[in-house]
């Protein structure tokens, strides 16, 4: 898609000069610039008008609060980029948030039952990954649409969490949880460091390694990837398995933050889906990237924080997240129709 096709005109000194400048930009570039400018404007807007928003303490808080949704959004991004970004038939994992809830419950229940930390960790990460593997098998082997397979899984997993916890808060303490909840290094909290490390690892794997290239090829052009000898089915299955493992990893962070497993984790789905989809807008090719996903997660975090500080109901944040999902999905559908 080019600018000539979309007939976008930008304000500037003169129409001729603007067209000459924008003629070198693709539609993707313009979308990216507009998206980045919007993020910057929203941030500056809150910074200027909202007391206490632009302080180092508040900014560090928002980054720390973004760690868990950020890691889950990276898992969602992995599934989308491997399964393809078509929202109807492409990769998506609607069970991520519920999986985190179940994994957190397993961890807390195992600790309460007197299991040692290593056994509890293994059970938690294993269970989370198992949920991911079942998702992957449903999608790859049974050919069920990911949207439906993972929606069904979300319900199953949510039900299991209720059975396990009887819908109550289960307190949990262990040495690793103490380090995660109270530790800090160079002024940054443990959770912030975990987000940095996980993002760096994801960026290296996805953007600077042969497996990353194969994942993008699988999502972008599955037939071409298959012809080139890439094991498409196995990679898609693997992406769901890694996403499940990541959900369990995030669950341990969540238990550390709450000193317990708690109900209502499923509500996080909207923000992680919004972040992963919005993240595609920040990439040149309209595909999920680590940087794009992180910008989107932080954008949603700052939006939510700004709304809180302005005294606006958090219902508005849910509304804005829903609108963002709709806008990105609509833009993707529109682009595909024009492209086709």
């Amino acid at each position: 898609m080019t600018l000539a096709q979309t007939e976008i005109t930008l304000p500037g000194p003169g129409p001729g000069r603007v067209r000459a400048w924008t003629a070198t930009l693709s539609g993707g570039d313009v979308t990216r610039l507009v998206a980045l400018a919007t993020v910057a404007l929203v941030f500056i807007g809150f910074a200027v008008t909202t007391r206490g928003f632009f302080t180092s303490w508040n900014i560090l808080n928002v980054i720390e609060q973004s760690a868990i949704p950020g890691i889950l959004a990276l898992a969602m991004a992995l599934v989308i980029l491997t399964g393809g970004s078509d929202v109807q038939t492409g990769g998506i994992d609607l069970s991520l948030a519920a999986n985190m809830g179940l994994s957190a419950a397993i961890f807390a229940v195992a600790l309460r039952a007197g299991w040692g930390e290593p056994a509890a960790l293994a059970a938690t990460l294993g269970a989370g990954m198992l949920v991911g593997v079942v998702n992957g098998l449903a999608v790859v082997r049974l050919g069920i649409l990911p949207l439906l397979a993972t929606l069904a899984m979300s319900n199953i997993v949510g039900g299991l969490e209720l059975v396990l916890t009887e819908n109550t808060v289960i307190p949990a303490t262990s040495p690793i949880l103490n380090v995660l909840s109270a530790g800090s290094f160079l002024g940054l909290s443990s959770l912030t460091w975990v987000l940095i490390l996980v993002s760096t690892l994801a960026a290296v794997i996805l953007h600077a390694s042969p497996p990353g290239l194969r994942l993008y090829a699988t999502g972008g052009h599955p037939e071409a990837a298959r012809a080139a000898g890439v094991s498409v089915g196995r990679l898609i299955l693997g992406s769901y398995a890694v996403a499940g493992f990541t959900a369990a990893f995030a669950a341990i962070l969540s238990v550390s933050r709450l000193s317990a497993s708690s109900t209502g984790t499923g509500e996080m789905l909207l923000s992680i889906l919004a972040a992963a989809l919005l993240g595609t807008v920040f990439s040149r090719r309209g595909v999920p990237t680590v940087a794009g996903t992180l910008i989107a997660v932080l954008f949603i975090g700052f939006l939510s924080n700004g709304f809180q500080l302005k005294g606006l109901s958090s219902n508005w944040v849910s509304g804005v997240q829903g609108a963002l999902i709709l806008a990105v999905v609509a833009a993707t559908a529109l682009n595909r129709r024009k492209g086709g």
């Binding site: 508040n58 609060q65 819908n167 933050r257 000193s259 708690s262 924080n305 809180q308």
Partner: protein
């Protein structure tokens, strides 16, 4: 203990708590120029909403500025809100309800940041002051009323989904403590779990199932809960089934449950009405007193008022306004 002596004990208890209430009418102190952060786990049922709204209104009436944050029943969100409030460095924080296990480390961080913490219904060691109903008194009063009404024998269905919320824990423990002396009363196991959201709907279906499981008259004599929203559904389920001889008992004073208690044909048995608006106000006034250099007691108890089928017509018109 005979039913008559139980009644006398109840009257004495209500009278003594009413006396405590007289001490609450403290002179309000100004909060001009002060910012008060107020965080609640939720504000969608009457009790939570009135705590939250009345605390906000009172801080504003005293000239203070409020940063009010409602976590909509999500623990993760409330923790984020507390972090946000700490970063804003308000002059004080009022925290309302929530799960103590989740909250305690974060409430300690409020204090560590040098911000005085006040709570409503959250008995935290980090708090300068907690405002609460006398949950010890009202918990045992409600239990005694139940014992009295069912003739000190029978099976009781219990909703116990929120033991980690301090007022619920105290009321439940008091209920169990009273039952120890009445061995002919049995709590049906497993206990039921009340949930948020869809509390009344879920309780309706749970109690309908239990009525099916225990189909004979006398199988169930009472339903108990630490609040009253589940009891709205439970009472509707009993009334719809046409079963007699089952009564429901809870705390708060939601309008629908009060109507059921007042209705002679309904299973609504008794409710301890909390002075919800007063509790929010008292917390704000305690903040003002503290910030003006006065000593504030660690706990401010606000008396509850018991409404039973027998006294409903007389007591309900005298209840404090909720708007």
């Amino acid at each position: 203990m005979t039913p008559t002596s139980i009644r006398s004990a109840l009257v004495a208890l209500v009278a003594s708590t009413a006396l405590t209430g007289a001490a609450l009418a403290d002179d309000a102190k100004p909060l001009a120029g002060k910012t008060i952060g107020i965080t609640t786990i939720r504000a969608d049922n009457q009790a939570d909403r009135l705590f939250y709204q009345s605390a906000i209104a009172e801080v504003e009436a005293l000239g203070g500025t409020v940063i009010g944050l409602d976590a909509q029943s999500n623990d993760q969100t409330q923790i984020a809100h507390i972090q946000t409030l700490i970063a804003q460095k308000p002059d004080a924080v009022i925290e309302i309800l929530g799960n103590l296990e989740v909250l305690e480390p974060w409430l300690a961080k409020v204090t560590e940041a040098g911000i005085p913490l006040f709570t409503i219904d959250t008995t935290s060691k980090a708090a300068v002051n907690v405002v609460a109903s006398d949950n010890y008194g009202l918990g045992s009063a409600l239990a005694l009323q139940l014992v009295n009404d069912i003739g000190a024998k029978g099976n009781v269905l219990v909703f116990n989904g929120f033991y980690s919320v301090p007022p619920c824990r105290i009321r439940y423990d008091q209920f169990r403590y009273v039952l120890k002396d009445f061995p002919e009363i049995t709590v049906i196991e497993p206990e039921l779990r009340d949930v948020i959201p869809n509390t009344a709907q879920r309780a309706y279906s749970d109690v309908t199932d239990m009525l099916t499981k225990y189909p004979n008259e006398g199988d169930i004599s009472a339903v108990w809960s630490c609040w009253d929203v589940p009891l709205i559904g439970a009472t509707q389920a009993i009334d719809a089934s046409g079963r007699k001889g089952i009564y429901t008992y809870g705390v708060d004073g939601s309008p629908d449950f009060l109507d059921q208690v007042a209705d002679p044909e309904s299973a609504g048995g008794a409710v301890v009405v909390q002075q919800l608006v007063e509790m929010g106000k008292v917390s704000a006034r305690n903040v003002a007193a503290y910030l003006n250099g006065e000593t504030v007691p660690p706990v401010t108890f606000v008396p509850g008022i018991i409404v039973t089928k027998k006294n409903a017509d007389e007591v309900i018109p005298t209840l404090p306004a909720t708007d």
